[in-house]
Symmetry: C2
Subunit: 207 residues, 2 copies
């Protein structure tokens, strides 16, 4: 038994052996995943983190020199931090706020349908532009859930996009047909939320 | 029955009535959540979106004129898009990459512990600076899971931070003691991942 083992009861040695086995497994998986392609990512569920995850990917894409297009389908009633920030880069980010608030705020289905369809036209322009490396369709799932848009039309347009273009779709209530055609899907599950403890939505965190 | 109803079988009317009820419920909850406070957010689980959600909150915070501090505990082996992007704003973002790769890559526990402790010292400096509105502790959960850091020390430092400072902690394996003291916790659950379909980690999406 060397000094290191004497100090930590073999923890270091066991850890190192476990990590060597883990490295083998991870390396094998990485070796198998070699294809490059534009991926369709969906973030759904009731937990916090769906839109913020999309905006984190915007930052990543910009760091790699890509151009990004963003369409917000539902939000639009208040200016958000993400809008204020990404509008600083008009040559790199094309930011379209096409909503007027959540559906329970507007209470006008006819108007919501019109707004969603106008937003989808913006999305179609981005999805047919090979210069755009990533397209964010924020809260599109909600527009689909309420059938403001036809899911088959949306899927057809997504599948006709440039081969290396990434798309991130966010919002509760993603329809199963959309999940079926997506590459990466995460469900954000709420474990707890500050809201329940009486804390108001905080700048920077929620908007 | 008016024209609108004749057209859609009453869908618009039912939708509007449902949204009116929903608005009442949401408004009541908003009225109850009025306290302003720095929130402690944790993103955990095995799904994609934990770190990207944190970086989306960085964008939001910057949009609201806040200063942000970022410490990456594990990542550091390859330059990421988020690092390249947020380093553009040295006056607003203080970015510290303190890791050398995932633990199964380094395979050296003693060194991992030293790196994690050096990273925590950086975190402590940010957590005691009231000029920093948001602190991101990326992959801290992994450093805690492997006991590179003492969770009680980490909690004590978090709780002693400025009252309005937000903290976002990411990574798999968040310890229960940390979840207990957090305000908002989301578990990212993988529904599917492009990796499994043979697609390599894509720039802008995964890093």
């Amino acid at each position: 038994m060397d000094n290191e083992q004497a100090k930590d009861g073999g923890l270091t040695e066991r850890h190192n052996a476990r990590m060597a086995r883990k490295k083998e497994v991870v390396d094998k998986k990485i070796a198998a995943a070699t294809r490059n392609a534009g991926v369709l990512v969906i973030t759904c569920g009731n937990g916090k983190g769906k839109s913020s995850s999309a905006f984190g990917m915007v930052a990543r894409a910009l760091g790699h020199g890509m151009k990004v297009g963003i369409v917000q389908f539902i939000k639009g009633a208040i200016p958000t931090g993400e809008e204020q920030f990404f509008r600083r880069f008009p040559d790199e980010v094309s930011f379209h706020v096409m909503g007027e608030g959540y559906t329970w705020e507007t209470q006008d289905r006819t108007r919501d349908v019109e707004k969603a369809q106008a937003a989808w036209q913006r999305a179609q322009a981005l999805l047919s532009d090979p210069a755009i490396g990533m397209v964010i369709l924020d809260e599109l799932n909600i527009a689909l859930k309420y059938k403001y848009l036809d899911v088959q039309q949306v899927i057809a347009d997504l599948q006709a996009r440039p081969a290396m273009q990434h798309v991130v779709i966010t919002g509760r209530g993603a329809p199963p047909e959309l999940i079926e055609v997506a590459d990466t899907v995460t469900e954000m599950q709420p474990v707890k939320h500050a809201f329940a403890a009486g804390i108001a939505a905080q700048q920077g965190v929620e908007w």
